[in-house]
């Protein structure tokens, strides 16, 4: 069956094409510009670079400790994800499985955090971290990030635990396994798909967060990748090539990881939005 070329299909093509252009265009332009010289960047935005030598990348790496930013981002994102998954899954398990007085109250209390625009808590969190002497440490960001994902993780995990048949745990109890062992050796492995969804979302939140990183840290030795960009715009104001190279080094890994893991990431995002 050959489709006819109708006005409708042409319009649809243009409509979808426009959004492709504004989505990919700027990214491709950034990557292309990272190989151009300053002069080439200023003279023609669309011309291809005259050479593909990574001059800008060398300059960017010399001018800013991008490696350190990467290291910090990885440490903070991984630790906050582990912390979030372990701490929230334990609570979600109790809230999903065990009836006790105050259960509903705790669920309601914790779900309150979903309604709060986090910017509103900026100043108290800054004061608390100052009081705990955690200002300008990775620990501060790890704690804040683990909490940012708390409501989403809680609802994802709780509904996942509710879907696991009770019989398996009961069998474990009969075999003499205690409460803690049952959770960590039976329930936790069974809930892996649900936990993975929460972990992916938590990792993305931590990896991309900017505002708390900006206010809670000040030294390059503990700052994360999103802040590196803040640093570039002022540092590299006259070396456009290096700035574009730095930008590319920040965006390209995210895009590649997304392209590779897109099925899992996409379904996690949908689950997180719908259930969370």
């Amino acid at each position: 069956m050959k489709k006819k070329l109708t006005l409708g299909s042409v319009l649809r093509f243009l409509f979808l094409g426009f959004f492709v252009a504004i989505s990919v265009g700027p990214l491709l332009w950034v990557i292309m510009s990272s190989f151009k010289t300053n002069k080439e960047i200023l003279s023609n935005a669309f011309a291809l670079p005259s050479s593909w030598a990574p001059v800008g990348y060398k300059a960017a790496l010399e001018m800013a400790p991008i490696g350190t930013f990467y290291k910090n981002s990885i440490i903070i994102s991984v630790v906050s994800t582990v912390l979030n998954v372990v701490v929230v899954s334990m609570a979600a398990y109790v809230l999903a499985r065990h009836k006790f007085r105050g259960n509903t109250f705790i669920v309601l209390l914790l779900s309150m955090s979903m309604l709060i625009p986090t910017a509103s808590l900026l100043m108290p969190i800054y004061k608390i971290m100052t009081a705990l002497k955690l200002l300008n440490t990775r620990t501060a960001l790890i704690l804040v990030y683990a909490a940012l994902g708390l409501p989403t993780s809680l609802f994802l995990f709780r509904s996942y635990f509710q879907g696991i048949p009770k019989e398996l745990e009961e069998a474990a109890y009969i075999d003499g396994a205690g409460f803690f062992r049952t959770f960590f050796t039976i329930v936790f492995p069974l809930a892996k798909p649900g936990l993975a969804t929460g972990a992916i979302l938590q990792f993305l939140t931590s990896w991309n967060e900017f505002m708390f990183a900006l206010i809670l840290t000040s030294d390059t030795s503990v700052r994360t990748l999103p802040l590196a960009l803040n640093y570039f715009t002022s540092q590299f104001s006259f070396n456009y090539t290096a700035m574009f190279a730095a930008l590319t080094m920040v965006i390209l890994p995210s895009i590649i990881v997304y392209a590779v893991l897109q099925e899992q990431i996409t379904s996690s995002m949908v689950d997180g939005a719908v259930k969370g």
Binding site: M90, A91, L225
Partner: protein, 290 residues
């Protein structure tokens, strides 16, 4: 199976501690100190509702920030969600390449918002930016416009950086559309429904609660928006593009006017609760059709 209470408590405690540290105590501080004059250097006086009265009668910046925030919430809830939904309906026909398109539309959403801000700062740069070069190329004349810092274009340029990037809405709506059982659609087709009727009268009502979720996601994202403004216009020129989170940041971190900043925090929280509650009502999110 009866589990000892202390074991349950031990499992709940870490989560509750984290919640208390990052949400509950800060929340108490925000509400409590919004009634105080609290500034750097130990100034701490109870002033009742003065912060609130000041904000709404005597602070044009607050009014601008509030107005912009509301405008952006409304635009994001309607135009942003609308565009994403239309694109999702188009992709749901599963024409050739629909998965590739879905991936491409998500790119700007998977890149960190901070990176996106710096990218847009370059794209709209007056000297070498993509947009000015594009216009110059087409018209043949040298086109110079400082998009982010020109009175006439700053607001719309900042808005551009989130309004048209609907990847998140697309994947949520698309997932809901693809989950509609085929027999429902088949029944409608047998009854003689055209493709348009199918979309508007069958599919759209069926994904009502999903659309509600999308509107909540979009609206509340505008109550959080910070980095895309901070990294581009910083709220300027003048106060043209300031919003509540940015003003709150400036008040607490630059002016060290903590009580006043926390008053804004209360306004933001109240705005968040009202937004979510009204969208819930509007889309009858708690009722199911099935």
């Amino acid at each position: 199976m009866k589990v000892k209470r202390w074991k349950l408590a031990a499992f709940l405690l870490p989560c509750l501690l984290l919640f208390a540290l990052i949400y509950l105590i800060p929340l108490g501080m925000v509400f409590g100190s919004s009634f105080f004059e609290w500034k750097a250097g130990g100034v701490f006086n109870f002033i009742g509702l003065d912060n609130y009265i000041n904000a709404f009668t005597n602070d044009p910046r607050m009014i601008t920030a509030l107005k912009n925030t509301v405008i952006w919430v409304l635009m994001q809830s309607t135009i942003h969600v609308g565009l994403g939904t239309i694109i999702a309906f188009m992709l749901a026909r599963k024409m050739r390449g629909w998965k590739v398109l879905r991936t491409i539309y998500m790119f700007p959403n998977v890149v960190s918002a901070a990176a996106l801000g710096v990218i847009f700062l370059n794209v709209f740069n007056p000297k070498y930016g993509l947009i000015n070069s594009f216009i110059s190329q087409i018209t043949g004349n040298d086109f110079v416009k400082n998009w982010f810092f020109d009175q006439n274009s700053a607001f719309i340029t900042v808005t551009w950086s989130w309004l048209l990037y609907t990847g998140m809405i697309i994947i949520i709506v698309l997932a809901a559309l693809l989950a509609i059982p085929e027999d429902v659609l088949e029944a409608a087709r047998i009854d003689g429904a055209t493709e348009m009727q199918l979309n508007l009268q069958v599919k759209l009502p069926l994904i009502r609660t999903t659309l509600g979720t999308c509107v909540i996601v979009a609206a509340t994202s505008m109550l959080r928006e910070f980095e895309l403004i901070y990294l581009t216009t910083q709220g300027g020129p003048g106060d043209l593009t300031i919003n509540l989170p940015l003003y709150l940041y400036k008040t607490s971190m630059t002016d060290n006017n903590y009580g006043y900043a926390n008053m804004m925090g209360v306004v933001l929280i109240v705005a968040g609760v009202i937004t979510v509650y009204s969208i819930n009502k509007l889309f009858r999110m708690n009722e199911s059709d099935y």
